[in-house]
Symmetry: C2
Subunit: 212 residues, 2 copies
């Protein structure tokens, strides 16, 4: 049986039910820890499921920041310092990563509270997560305030990319399954991936061509 | 061994290598087909890996549109008609979905070319994908042009949500693994998910609490 809910039926659902439901319907999401440091040197780390690809030439990534308390530290720090890091969550520390989604006071470093290790790169102020296999350092590029609900799209330029030599193939491909990268469903469910196939650029009329 | 590339080293990589690499580093992404119809009634379908959650109250989703030929039909149609659909890709038709990433002339319906079935809801002009277990109809809400590379964030309000009754739990949770939802790595690799765990809202000082 199919369930069909229109806008008004969605709005009449209990708020928590609707929140859980709407957060899941887009499918598997990116799981990344965003690291920042305040002007006074306090480290901050927060889990985000909204990192998106903006461009490769030059390399830009973005993420959506919701107007909630947890994420304000991330926003304030990255605007104050102009720098942030995006660190991929792997299965081995996904429970620690989940802990960073809690609300901590400003004076608490989520690195320490969650048992994760800050890692620094010379000349870059924001902390990376040592446990992450893929670590990305970005400089703030621009932001866009979404008018309908005051969320923000934040865009950064990739200044540093650190990843395992053996994780990158000759053509630039990254084997997410081998790195034990996790995906998130909504805000609460974590998954590993199992590869179905990698396919070449599709030209209409051709067969779908599997590649390595 | 870790590989560390700074901005200038990234810019010196061959363009295709850099494109493949940068598209993969954020991790597993949402896999959705976006359906639109032109003012003259021509159906269009295109694969996107950039759908993000914008809000649940009211329900909004967004996606990033790159300034390329494939996606211009989607953009033109949704601006002309104010409507679009987001349809979750499942393992059973991920090869058909991949075909929609090819470049088709405007007069070709990707539904027909890829072997997918358009589905209509009364009073809503944009086509849904019948094969998708989760189908979302949206009205255009707002857009933001990203200045650094002319990509766009498009935001829509959820007007219709169609999903299998048995796929939704009592608290609004959706079991993506049971629905055979797929994730995408970059633009070319498809994965199914295997659940590690679902965890309750985390309160600092508590243990991470597994929930059903």
């Amino acid at each position: 049986m199919e369930k069909h809910l229109d806008f008004h039926e969605l709005m009449n659902l209990p708020a928590r039910y609707r929140g859980t439901l709407i957060n899941k319907i887009a499918g598997y999401k990116t799981a990344n820890l965003i690291g920042t440091r305040s002007g006074s040197g306090m480290e901050n780390l927060a889990l985000f499921n909204s990192v998106v690809h903006i461009g490769a030439n030059p390399p830009y990534l973005g993420f959506v920041l919701r107007p909630t308390t947890v994420e304000r530290h991330t926003y304030k720090n990255l605007r104050d310092t102009g720098q942030f890091t995006i660190n991929q969550v792997a299965a081995s520390f996904h429970r620690e990563a989940h802990q960073s989604s809690g609300k901590y006071p400003l004076e608490v470093s989520e690195f320490k509270a969650c048992g994760l290790t800050p890692h620094y790169v010379q000349g870059f102020s924001a902390p990376f997560v040592a446990e992450s296999r893929i670590k990305i350092g970005l400089s703030f590029e621009e932001e866009h305030l979404v008018n309908c609900n005051q969320t923000r799209l934040v865009v950064g330029k990739v200044e540093h990319l650190i990843l395992p030599e053996e994780g990158v193939k000759a053509d630039g491909d990254v084997d997410l399954e081998a790195l034990n990268t996790v995906a998130i469903g909504g805000l609460d469910t974590y998954y590993t991936g199992k590869k179905l196939g990698r396919y070449g650029y599709y030209r209409p009329g051709d067969e779908v061509r599997e590649i390595d």
